[in-house]
C-alpha cells in the first residue's frame, strides 16, 4: 500500500516540479508567472500530437518544450516591453490558450474536451534491477520515466545555476533590484525574457509529463490547476530549489493519495479537493512562520 502511494506520488510530482522550477527561475528574475498553467496545457497537447505523428516520445518532449516556450513569449514581451501587469497578462494567457486549444480540438480533430490519439508512444519507465525489489527505495527510484529523473536532476542544477553562474547571478539581480541591474549595464528586459522562456519550456515539459507520462491522452482539464500548484510550491519554498521540490512532493503525495481515497466511500468530488486544500494550508503556514520569524531591522 505505502509502496503504491509512494510510487504514484513521485510520478504525480513530476509535472508540478518541472513547472515549479521554471516558475522559480522566473520569479528569481522578478516576474511572477501566472501563465504556467497555460504553458503546461500547450506543452501537454503538443507532446501528444508530436509523439503520435512522429512515433517517437523524444520528438514529443521537444515539441512540448517548444510549445511551452512559444506560449510564454507573448506573456514575456507584454510584460517586459509594453509594461503590462504580469498578473493580468498571465491570467489572460491562461484564458487565451485554453480557448485556442478548445478551438484546435474541435476544428482539427472534431472532438470536444478529450483527445485520444492511437498509437502514441508514452514515456518509457526505467526499471532498476535489484533496487526495484527493495521496499520503499524501490518504489521511490524504480519504474520512473525520463522526465521524472530529469526533473530531480534539475533541482540541484537549478540551485547551481542561480548561485554559481554568471547568468544566475544576473537573473537574481534583476529580480531583487532592476534599477541596480540596469545601473551596472545589464539589460533587465532581455534577462527577464530569457527567464520566462525557460519557464515556458520547463512548464511545457511538465505538461508532457502529464499527457505522455501519466495518462497517454489529452483533455482540456488535464492540468487541473497544477500550474497554480507549482506557483504555490515555489512560494512555499521561497524561490529556493530544494524547499520548492519538497513542497512539490508534498502536493504530489496528496494528489496520489486523493486517487487512492476515492474508493473509500467519501464523495469523490470532495476527495479531489484534498491537494488544493493542502496547498492553501501550506501557504498559510509558510506566511505565518515567516511573519513570526525575526524580521530584518527597518
Amino acid at each position: 500500500m505505502l509502496d503504491n502511494v509512494l510510487h504514484a506520488a513521485i510520478l504525480a510530482t513530476t509535472p508540478i516540479l518541472l513547472a515549479a522550477l521554471g516558475g522559480l527561475i522566473n520569479r528569481q528574475a522578478g516576474i511572477v508567472n501566472i501563465g504556467l498553467e497555460a504553458m503546461m496545457l500547450s506543452g501537454a497537447l503538443a507532446a501528444l500530437i508530436a509523439a503520435h505523428v512522429s512515433g517517437s516520445w523524444e520528438v514529443g518532449l521537444l515539441a512540448a518544450a517548444v510549445a511551452g516556450l512559444i506560449s510564454a513569449a507573448p506573456l514575456s514581451i507584454l510584460v517586459t516591453r509594453f509594461g503590462a501587469n504580469e498578473i493580468v497578462a498571465g491570467l489572460g494567457l491562461n484564458v487565451l490558450i485554453a480557448g485556442l486549444i478548445g478551438y484546435l480540438l474541435s476544428d482539427f480533430y472534431g472532438v470536444s474536451g478529450t483527445l485520444r490519439l492511437m498509437p502514441v508512444p508514452t514515456l518509457p519507465r526505467i526499471d532498476l534491477p535489484f533496487i526495484a525489489g527493495v521496499p520503499v527505495l524501490g518504489a521511490i527510484l524504480s519504474g520512473k520515466d525520463v522526465l521524472t529523473w530529469a526533473a530531480w536532476i534539475l533541482v540541484p542544477l537549478t540551485a547551481l545555476l542561480l548561485t554559481r553562474t554568471r547568468i544566475g547571478l544576473r537573473l537574481r539581480a534583476c529580480g531583487s533590484s532592476p534599477a541596480t541591474a540596469n545601473s551596472v549595464g545589464l539589460s533587465v528586459p532581455n534577462l527577464r525574457d530569457g527567464a520566462t522562456l525557460a519557464a515556458g519550456a520547463l512548464a511545457g515539459l511538465g505538461g508532457a509529463a502529464l499527457s505522455l507520462g501519466l495518462v497517454g491522452l489529452f483533455s482540456e482539464g488535464l492540468t487541473g490547476g497544477r500550474g497554480f500548484i507549482a506557483l504555490a510550491a515555489f512560494y512555499f519554498g521561497r524561490n529556493r530549489p530544494w524547499p520548492t521540490a519538497f513542497a512539490c512532493i508534498l502536493f504530489g503525495f496528496f494528489d496520489a493519495a486523493q486517487i487512492r481515497l476515492q474508493g473509500g466511500g467519501l464523495p469523490p468530488e470532495l476527495v479531489q479537493v484534498l491537494p488544493y486544500a493542502v496547498v492553501i494550508l501550506a501557504l498559510t503556514l509558510a506566511s505565518w512562520r515567516r511573519r513570526r520569524g525575526p524580521s530584518p531591522e527597518p
Binding site: 554568471r166 547571478l169 533590484s177 534599477a179 545601473s183 551596472v184 530584518p296
Partner: protein, 508 residues
C-alpha cells in the same frame, strides 16, 4: 581656451540646458571638474543639481550643450556608457540588490570566471583587496539587505572602483550617515583623491563641503552662480551665494513653560533578541517645551517615537498625555489624545506618495470632516482644508489634485508638518524634521516648530543633526543602546557635552 576643453578637465559641462515643460532645470551650465580634485556642487532643492547628474549618467539628455570627458564631447546613452568612460555614480537611494550578498553586488555585471561559471575565489580576493585599499572591514558574505547603511554605501563606491571608474559622483552621500560615519566616508574619499581619483560631491550641507572639497560650484535656479576655491570663502558667504539672499536664522525667544503634557516612566520596548530596543526611559515634557532626542542612529530613537505614537507596544512602563495613560492603546487613541506625528520616513509613513495633495492634507482628519456632512467627504471642504495648510506652510505645488510624489522633498516635508501642526495637537512627535530639506526650507521649518512651541505646544524631536537639536531644544535627552544616558539642559548643550553621552559615557 575655456577650462572645460582643457586637458586637466576630467568631466565637464559645456552650456548644458534642459527644460521640463515650463521649468528650466539647467540653463546653460558650464562646469569643469579637474582631474584629481574633490569638487562640490551645492544648491537649493530644484537648483538643477540632480538633472545635471542625470545627464552626466546618461539617464537624461540635454536639450542643448555638451558633456565633455577629457576635453572631448561625449554622448552617454546610459550609466553603462558613463562607466565605460570611467565615470560612476553613487545614488542617494543605494543601487544594491538586497537579496544578493555584498560580494555578489560587487561583481555584478563584470563577474570573474570562465564559461559562465563565477570564480568565487577570485571575486572574494579582489573584494578583500579593494576593502583593504579603502581601509574598511566588510563581511562580504552578508546579504546587502542586512548590511548597515554605511557598509552599503562603501560597497557602492568599491563597486565603481572594481568596474574601473576613476571619477565618482556622490549624490548627498552624508544624508544617511551619523557623524562618525561621515568621518569614515570623508577619510575614504580623501584617500581616493590621494590615489588620483576625481570626485564630484553633491551636498547641501555646507559645513561638509567646507571640510572636504577643493572647489565648489554654486547652482541656483538652473544657473551656475560661481565656481570658487573652498579656501577663499567662508561658510556664511557660501550660504548667501546658495540662497541668493541672507537667511535669517529663526529667533528663539524665551517662552512660558506650562503644565506637564507628556509623562513617560520606565518605558521599554522589546527589540530583536535579548536586548530591548528601548530600556526603561523616563522623562517628561511640558507645554511650551522642546525636548530633543540625540543619539547615533539606531540607538532606540525609532522605538521611542514608535511607542509614543502607539506604533510599537511598550513591553513595560507608562506614558501619559494630560494624565491619560496611553501605553498599549492604538495609534488612533494616541492621536485622539492630542498627539501629532511627523515620521522620519516621509515617503513610507508620513505621506502617501501616489495620493493627491488634498488627500494627504486631510489624512487623519477624514472622520471629523465626514461628520460635518452626514458621513460624506465633500470635495470642496477637503480642498478648502488642504488649501489652508498649503497657504500657511507655503507648499509650492502644481495643483491640489496632483500626486504628492511630484513635490520636492522640502515641500513634502512642509505639507506633512503643516498637516500635523494644523490639527493643533498638544504634543508633537517629530523625527528628522529637516532631512533632505534645503537651507531655506530648514529655516522655515524651524520657524514653524518654534512658533508652535510659542503657542504652548510640546515637542519631542529626534534628529541626527546635533546643530539642529542644540539650536531648537530646551533640553536634550541622549539615547545610547536604548537607555537614556542623561538629559542636558539648553545652557550646557554642545557637541562636546553631547558626543560622549552618545557613545555611552555616563553623564559627569
Amino acid at each position: 581656451m575655456p577650462e572645460v576643453d582643457s586637458p586637466t578637465t576630467r568631466l565637464g559641462a559645456d552650456g548644458i540646458s534642459r527644460r521640463f515643460g515650463s521649468v528650466v532645470a539647467n540653463d546653460g551650465i558650464d562646469l569643469a571638474v579637474r582631474t584629481g580634485e574633490i569638487h562640490a556642487i551645492v544648491g537649493q532643492n530644484g537648483a538643477g543639481k540632480s538633472t545635471l547628474m542625470r545627464i552626466f549618467q546618461g539617464l537624461d539628455q540635454p536639450d542643448a550643450g555638451r558633456v565633455i570627458v577629457d576635453g572631448r564631447p561625449v554622448r552617454f546613452r546610459g550609466p553603462a556608457d558613463a562607466l565605460a568612460h570611467g565615470i560612476g555614480m553613487v545614488h542617494q537611494e543605494f543601487m544594491l540588490a538586497d537579496a544578493l550578498t555584498l560580494a555578489e553586488n560587487l561583481i555584478l555585471g563584470a563577474e570573474p570566471g570562465r564559461w559562465g561559471i563565477i570564480d568565487r575565489r577570485a571575486a572574494l580576493d579582489r573584494a578583500r583587496q579593494l576593502a583593504d585599499q579603502a581601509g574598511v572591514d566588510l563581511d562580504w558574505h552578508q546579504l546587502a539587505g542586512d548590511a548597515s547603511v554605511p557598509d552599503r554605501q562603501i560597497v557602492e563606491i568599491l563597486r565603481l572602483l572594481y568596474r574601473g571608474a576613476d571619477t565618482l559622483i556622490l549624490d548627498e552621500p552624508t544624508a544617511v550617515l551619523a557623524p562618525s560615519q561621515v568621518d569614515r566616508l570623508f577619510g575614504l574619499l580623501r584617500a581616493l583623491r590621494q590615489d588620483g581619483h576625481t570626485i564630484l560631491f553633491i551636498s547641501h550641507k555646507l559645513r561638509e563641503v567646507m571640510a572636504l572639497a577643493d572647489r565648489v560650484t554654486v547652482l541656483r535656479q538652473g544657473r551656475v552662480i560661481t565656481t570658487i576655491d573652498v579656501g577663499s570663502i567662508d561658510q556664511d558667504a557660501l550660504a548667501q551665494l546658495v540662497v541668493g539672499e541672507t537667511v535669517e536664522p529663526p529667533q528663539r525667544t524665551a517662552c512660558d513653560v506650562g503644565d506637564v503634557i507628556l509623562d513617560v516612566a520606565g518605558l521599554s520596548v522589546a527589540g530583536l533578541g535579548d536586548r530591548p530596543a528601548l530600556d526603561q526611559v523616563t522623562f517628561s515634557v511640558k507645554a511650551g517645551e522642546i525636548l530633543g532626542i540625540a543619539g547615533v542612529a539606531g540607538n532606540g530613537q525609532e522605538a521611542l517615537i514608535a511607542s509614543l505614537i502607539g506604533l510599537a507596544r511598550p513591553s513595560a512602563g507608562r506614558m501619559t498625555v494630560h494624565d491619560e495613560d496611553l501605553a498599549g492603546l492604538s495609534v488612533a487613541d494616541h492621536r485622539a489624545a492630542g498627539i501629532g506625528y511627523v515620521s522620519a520616513d516621509r515617503a513610507g509613513e508620513g505621506l502617501c506618495r501616489q495620493a493627491t495633495l488634498t488627500e494627504n492634507a486631510i489624512a487623519g482628519e477624514q472622520r471629523p470632516l465626514a461628520a460635518e456632512a452626514r458621513g460624506w467627504l465633500m470635495p470642496g471642504r477637503c480642498k478648502q482644508r488642504a488649501q489652508t495648510i498649503i497657504d500657511r506652510y507655503q507648499v509650492v505645488h502644481g495643483g491640489l489634485g496632483r500626486p504628492v510624489a511630484e513635490l520636492s522633498g522640502g515641500n513634502q516635508q512642509r505639507l506633512l508638518i503643516g498637516r500635523e501642526i494644523d490639527r493643533s495637537p498638544s504634543l508633537l512627535l517629530i523625527a528628522q524634521p529637516t532631512r533632505g530639506v534645503d537651507l531655506k526650507g530648514i529655516a522655515a521649518i524651524h520657524r514653524e516648530l518654534l512658533a508652535y512651541r510659542q503657542r504652548g505646544g510640546a515637542i519631542v524631536m529626534v534628529s541626527e543633526e546635533l546643530d539642529e537639536l542644540i539650536a531648537l531644544s530646551d533640553r536634550i535627552l541622549v539615547l545610547c543602546g536604548g537607555r537614556a544616558m542623561g538629559i542636558v539642559d539648553r545652557e550646557d548643550a554642545s557637541t562636546e557635552t553631547l558626543a560622549p553621552l552618545m557613545v555611552g559615557a555616563a553623564a559627569a
